[in-house]
Symmetry: C2
Subunit: 150 residues, 2 copies
DNA sequence: TTGATTGCAAATTGTTTGCACGCAA
DNA sequence: TTGCGTGCAAACAATTTGCAATCAA
């Protein structure tokens, strides 16, 4: 496995930019940010580093709802909340509940190691404008309650 | 939006095959099953129907960890558990807790509509063989606790 | 009859990889 | 000096889409 990561400028700037954010950007968003400081960096390098950094525990890779992966500069157990309106993802300051794992273990034959939870709803910026647009958005909401959306 | 879905043989067979399973197949797995009965069906049709069916609430689209979407023939609130060993996904018979949404709402500015939860661990088939293989698997587990894996 | 649905193939999107060169240790 | 890391471009995998033909209502 990975021995030790070298400190390259690309790696450092990726970590720095990610550390500045409280949001959970996609690989491409990180690429755009880093590119302002290192114009010659490639998207492939960003992907490779995000993967390595999350493997070594320095950042967190989120692969919950939605098609794109997102990355989290802060590690540790916490839940996430995604805005149905604009797609942004925030941390939820609800501490992860280990007892849930035990409750789940009692109900299944699995050896349970972790759980993750994601909430969906409208962020402050999207609550008002959305609800004014009517019909179509209502359907979107229903879609999200019943099934899942994108 | 969708008025009413016509009953085509493709649609019906997709629903039937999905209804037979307790697992949560990927679009491609469904395609392979349906193809046995309708050899000329195309993968695109399967994708289009899974999307429409989940929008109309007849099935459920799962987009949690991992890169591929999976589909669930049974609707209603329940959680899922994914095997780290073989990737299979089962239902967990733990009823969805609405109170969690309220607890989360108190902690954020979001208007919260739903939450979903996924558990990770080893299924009965993977517990023993996995733990015997040692080292590499241990790293995999750590990876899953700290960050996330694939 | 007519618009929803299909099969097919091409296009998109997000991500990964091979390779030769460059640079941290 | 070594072999990890990089930029670049091509390859991939999953999913979506345009289009003309087909079929359910």
């Amino acid at each position: 496995m990975t021995e030790h990561l070298r400190e390259t400028s690309q790696r450092r700037v990726i970590l720095e930019e990610l550390g500045k954010l409280t949001s959970h950007p996609t690989a491409n968003e990180i690429y755009e940010l880093v590119r302002k400081r290192l114009p010659r960096i490639s998207l492939g390098t960003v992907y490779r580093n995000l993967e390595l950094l999350s493997q070594s525990g320095l950042i967190q890779k989120l692969e919950m709802a939605g098609t794109q992966k997102r990355f989290d500069g802060t590690i540790g157990n916490h839940y996430h909340i995604r805005c149905i309106g604009c797609g942004r993802v925030d941390d939820l300051r609800l501490p992860a509940m280990k007892s849930i794992d035990e409750a789940a273990a009692d109900l299944s034959d699995y050896e349970i190691l972790w759980h993750k939870m994601e909430f969906g709803g409208f962020c402050p910026d999207c609550i008002t404008p959305r609800s004014k647009r009517g019909e179509i958005e209502i359907l979107d909401i229903k879609k999200n309650i019943i099934g899942r959306k994108d």
